[in-house]
Symmetry: none
Subunit: 410 residues, 2 copies
């Protein structure tokens, strides 16, 4: 069973709005077990829309359009869909009544052109719209199905969830679902991770592994197509176990889990304090995004100037003078001192050159030192990060959080 | 001149990522005066990708693809594009060198499969990638042009802006441009701003004003269609002046300007220090996103616990006991003390309940105090914000930055 989705609206083609409807529908269709092979976006143009729907109905079993059902002359979907159905337009009195009520409830006078929305092609199934006036349509055309939904997500999503989803499940006694499970890693480049897991990348059959790179994070997504959720979960579990054997602690979390969240969990009752230079507060901010962070985070001192490094963090002037603010020695002192100053179990420090200015011959933009200090040991790691200022800040925060995580995992 | 955009990646068709590239490219093409008639998204499937590009090259003059240029077997764009070009793949030694340098700079061993990206179809123009390893490609096919760009926006956007845009402008002398100009505000809800500017919202003709709400920010977008950039800028300028008369300092910036950036600019030589409780370092992090922030930001102390508020910020224990950590008095002491402690010209403080826990009968989630202290005066503002923990943190940082901005504007 193949589906495709057509987004309608000139504002999509002008880039004035991002077409999130196609992504939403794709996710929902995957859950039902329907494959989506094409997304298309078309402007408010009758001819091109007609052609696109025609093409889609040839190569796919289900075609879903979003948008173009409004009451104005711009809205051409109803016309195109009616022409394709080869049926006459019929006034649906119940829709007309619902539209009148919609305006009455809001104490707004109904513009007469709104009643255009009460005319639908003969034999079409229409779908009520709880948040707007445009009804949705389901039209059978030979053995194919054409579904027209409104464009605004606040109208489209509830209409799909409450009507279309159930209709599809009934039509396609699909004993098949597509389920995905993501394993998240940080610390390796995409190609390095690929090297480790390439044996899993060419799996044949219904379970596949994809690799997706994000800033300072590479995900492995295991996707399984199976008769039901239980079976899909089982197939994913088998692959996950094998990948985990290979990657071990490189995997910091799954699906919607965040690095900061999982690192905090590992802290349990231990406390942490941070001395941030080049990250400028980003590590503390990411940690405090997690509810309950106050249990573990005592404080962060963003010591951006040398003066604040000496005055607030007791880094000696001679250390900075001898080795520089961006040095292993400064990072070490910052980590040790913030731990002592705060009384925390773990002290973390960052110092580096986030750019674009500040580089020297020996210290390029992206050079970063991260320090970690506990009662038992203190160590500093040196990194060379690339990218914009914001990217270097983010990569540093990612590396620092991951350093804490690895430390806690032992 | 007709263009179309093809987004490549199974994760788009599964709805796992939203295809923002097409929207970005559409906006950029509109500015150059090139019409976009189709967006398509296709999975990592050689046959369907080949067919889609072929179809696109029949009906459009310019076809831009994004994605599928990575180093792994999943990435099928290079193969499809090469087949369409009917040219052999040639090793470009300079690309190979750049890829090697990319890894060397990061002190990472290059996996051999990365060198796949150094092979490009004969006669193709290749585009350097400053943020990744995949080069972009421009290939002439008869009188049509096929452009293949990488998928990650952080690679695609700079590549388009620095190479493709100029190439297109040179190739196509366009007849008409669509230009947009955005005025950004914070502090008012969308409906409040709408009330102030509704007279401009129903402009007829080629210049229109749209209102777009973001978290803690509402934008007005003036869009003009004209024969050339100069004429479009003129039309936009007339409306902008009228809107500015109405809104004054409510407008904090335009287009790509950020609130943190424009606030820093107003500081000139004055210094600032921050005492953050509920924002957890976010204000410092946003300020340090701006290059050169070290000139103005001396330090930020993220005093998350009461203990750190007393020990690091000298807020008296009795103040916290009497009024609470979330109170006007604590915010005031934090702002005054961080200013004195750091020697900065301006002290800023935040304290509030970011949630989801921590609320009391009298102090709901979202209650926030922001303090501002200078040598001449100190004041505290009270806010009730809504939303998630992250949203409340962001709204607080937005309000704090805007408070500094208004203070500096007098």
């Amino acid at each position: 069973m193949k589906a495709e989705i057509i987004g309608i609206g000139t504002e999509i083609l002008l880039g004035q709005i991002v077409n999130t409807n196609s992504a939403h529908l794709s996710r929902k269709l995957a859950e039902i077990g329907i494959d989506v092979y094409h997304h298309t976006a078309i402007g408010d143009n009758k001819k091109r829309l007609y052609d696109s729907i025609k093409t889609a109905l040839i190569r796919s079993d289900i075609v879903i359009t979003t948008g173009g059902l409004g009451p104005t002359v711009d809205d051409v979907t109803l016309e195109a869909v009616t022409k394709i159905s080869e049926k006459p337009l019929i006034l649906q009195k119940k829709i007309a009544r619902l539209i009148r009520e919609h305006f009455k409830k809001r104490h707004i006078k109904m513009p007469e052109n709104n009643l255009r929305q009460a005319y639908i092609p003969k034999d079409a199934i229409w779908l009520g719209n709880n948040t707007g006036t445009a009804p949705g349509l389901i039209i059978k055309i030979n053995k194919k199905i054409l579904i027209a939904l409104p464009g605004p997500p606040r109208e489209m999503i509830p209409m799909f969830d409450s009507h279309v989803s159930a209709y599809m499940k009934k039509q396609y006694k699909s004993r098949c679902v597509i389920l995905s499970h993501t394993l998240k890693t940080t610390g390796l480049a995409e190609s390095q991770l690929h090297d480790k897991v390439k044996g899993f990348m060419r799996l044949s059959g219904d379970t596949t592994v994809g690799i997706y790179a994000h800033p300072a994070q590479v995900d492995l997504k295991i996707t399984s197509k199976a008769k039901n959720l239980l079976s899909a979960r089982g197939k994913i579990g088998v692959i996950e176990e094998k990948i985990r054997k290979k990657l071990g602690n490189l995997i910091f979390g799954t699906d919607n889990q965040m690095l900061e969240e999982n690192t905090l969990k590992l802290l349990r009752n231990r406390t942490i304090a941070i001395a941030e230079s080049c990250t400028g507060g980003l590590i503390a901010s990411r940690i405090t995004d997690v509810p309950g962070a106050s249990k573990n985070l005592l404080c962060s001192i963003v010591a951006y100037s040398n003066k604040s490094k000496t005055e607030l963090l007791d880094v000696s002037y001679s250390t900075i003078k001898k080795h520089g603010a961006v040095s292993s020695q400064t990072a070490k002192d910052m980590a040790v001192n913030i731990r002592n100053l705060s009384g925390a179990n773990i002290g973390i420090s960052t110092t580096g050159i986030a750019g674009p200015a500040g580089a020297t011959n020996k210290k390029p933009v992206g050079l970063v030192y991260i320090g970690l200090s506990t009662e038992l040991k203190t160590f500093v790691k040196k990194y060379y990060f690339t990218g914009t200022r914001e990217m270097i800040k983010f990569r540093t925060s990612q590396a620092a959080l991951d350093m804490i995580r690895h430390h806690l995992l032992g």
